[in-house]
């Protein structure tokens, strides 16, 4: 029964590291990184934007890998990872759209345009949302794990095709802007920091999902006795 009592001890570590990483990131990005010449301070948005965009993409691939692992092993452990990744990935994907939109408003003077890169990140967000909605329509258990696994595998096969199709339609999104070395370091640090935070949340959520399913099993046993 001691499964959940361990959870309290992890909390201060979680909070401290979260606050520390986020604050350091903000200070570094605001004061240490050089100001970009043409864009000015607006360019600083990139440090978060690229980091969450990278996480959204990474999460999608990781989710598909978990789905595949589930179908091969039929171990619900993988489905818990898949579910946790989906939630965090959805969060990062939403943040990608929000931060990107803020940047676009400052740089291009519009909140949204149908540029290829934007279309593909929107589609990514739609997949995450679709998977969450599909899951919410199904009961906990093997069936949900199976269907969601198939969906994310199809999704991950589709994303490159979306990117290709939209890119052939030509676009205005900066592909890889030239950066000073110091900017690169700040970006790298920001990516590592945010990845660490999200991984922490992911692991916590996965553990929680496991506890939830354990409690459900206990409840089932109690009902039967």
């Amino acid at each position: 029964m001691g499964i959940i009592t361990t959870s309290k001890s992890g909390r201060p570590v979680l909070w401290t590291s979260l606050v520390a990483v986020l604050l350091t990131g903000a200070i570094v990005a605001m004061y240490l990184a050089p100001t970009e010449q043409t864009m000015g301070d607006v360019q600083r948005v990139m440090y978060v934007h690229i980091a969450v965009a990278w996480l959204a993409l990474l999460g999608f691939v990781a989710m598909a890998a978990c789905g595949l692992a589930y179908l091969l092993s039929r171990n619900l452990w993988w489905d818990q990872w898949s579910m946790a990744t989906c939630e965090i990935g959805w969060l990062c994907s939403t943040l990608t759209l929000v931060t990107g939109s803020l940047w676009a408003h400052a740089a291009w003077g519009t909140w949204w345009t149908w540029d290829p890169r934007l279309v593909s990140s929107f589609i990514l967000w739609a997949f995450y949302s679709g998977n969450l909605i599909l899951r919410s329509g199904l009961d906990d258990g093997p069936q949900r794990a199976r269907l969601s696994a198939v969906l994310v595998i199809i999704g991950v096969a589709d994303v490159p095709l979306v990117v290709m199709a939209t890119r052939w339609f030509r676009g205005i999104h900066p592909v890889s802007p030239a950066m000073e070395p110091s900017m690169r370091y700040v970006l790298l640090a920001s990516m590592v920091g945010l990845t660490a935070i999200m991984t922490l949340l992911l692991v916590r959520r996965r553990t929680q999902l496991q506890h939830e399913s354990l409690v459900m099993q206990l409840q089932m046993q109690a009902d039967e006795n």
Binding site: D139, G141, P142, M216, M220, D223, E224
Partner: protein
């Protein structure tokens, strides 16, 4: 490991549907040529057990064997099984004959048209052969569903509540038909809640309650031999 003489064998079969553990580690063995009745009150999982035994449903854990081979391994194995459920599994908008011919074709029966005709005669519905299934009565539909399950002459026949909803003459007809198949050495397993029927037809009665089987689910070799002799006599 698995007994060569057993037509169906289930090892530690469990099935969970949603939050319910419908079947709990069931061990079951049915010998070739045996006729087994499955009883239990409504909602105890007789249908689920039959669905697992026919490999329509995938067990949560445990294995099912048909004639010693894992049931789900190869789709071609499904020829060993015929099943009648309480749903007819017939296409309402195809005619009686079309339904049988379709099933015969997908089971690779040698002459589908001929086989369909033969079965229609056996169930006494030749005159309605070109009527759509949606337009015939439920009782007739049940007969046709049985014919559809027998289309490939399966060595194992599973029936889910075959007697429910039948009138007296149909019951007798069905009992005769089951008896006939047992005479031919086919394996039968049917679920029912009618105790009277079981005594007349079945060699063995198993009762399902609370997810467990009672009766004599696993037969020792000797008694299986006895059963076979009894059939032969």
């Amino acid at each position: 490991m698995t007994n060569q003489k057993s037509a169906i064998q289930a090892q530690r079969l469990s099935k969970r549907i949603g939050d319910r553990r419908v079947l709990r580690e069931i061990d079951l063995e049915i010998a070739e040529g045996e006729c087994v009745a499955l009883t239990g009150s409504n909602g105890t999982g007789k249908t689920t057990l039959l669905r697992c035994l026919s490999a329509i449903a995938r067990p949560t854990s445990g294995k099912v064997y048909w004639f010693g081979r894992p049931a789900a391994a190869d789709p071609a194995q499904r020829r060993l099984i015929g099943m009648v459920s309480h749903e007819s599994r017939l296409y309402a908008h195809l005619t009686l004959r079309e339904n049988l011919v379709f099933a015969a074709r997908l089971f690779s029966v040698a002459d589908p048209g001929e086989r369909a005709e033969q079965l229609l005669k056996q169930i006494g519905l030749v005159s309605l052969a070109d009527r759509q299934v949606g337009q015939i009565s439920r009782g007739m539909g049940q007969r046709l569903a049985l014919a559809r399950a027998l289309i490939h002459d399966p060595p194992i026949l599973l029936l889910d509540e075959p007697f429910s909803g039948l009138d007296r003459s149909s019951r007798d007809w069905l009992a005769r038909l089951l008896h006939e198949r047992r005479e031919q050495g086919r394996t039968l397993c049917f679920s029912t809640h009618d105790e009277q029927q079981t005594g007349q037809i079945a060699d063995r009665t198993l009762t399902l309650s609370g997810g467990f089987l009672t009766g004599h689910p696993v037969v020792a070799d000797q008694s299986m031999e006895e059963n076979r002799h009894r059939h032969a006599a």
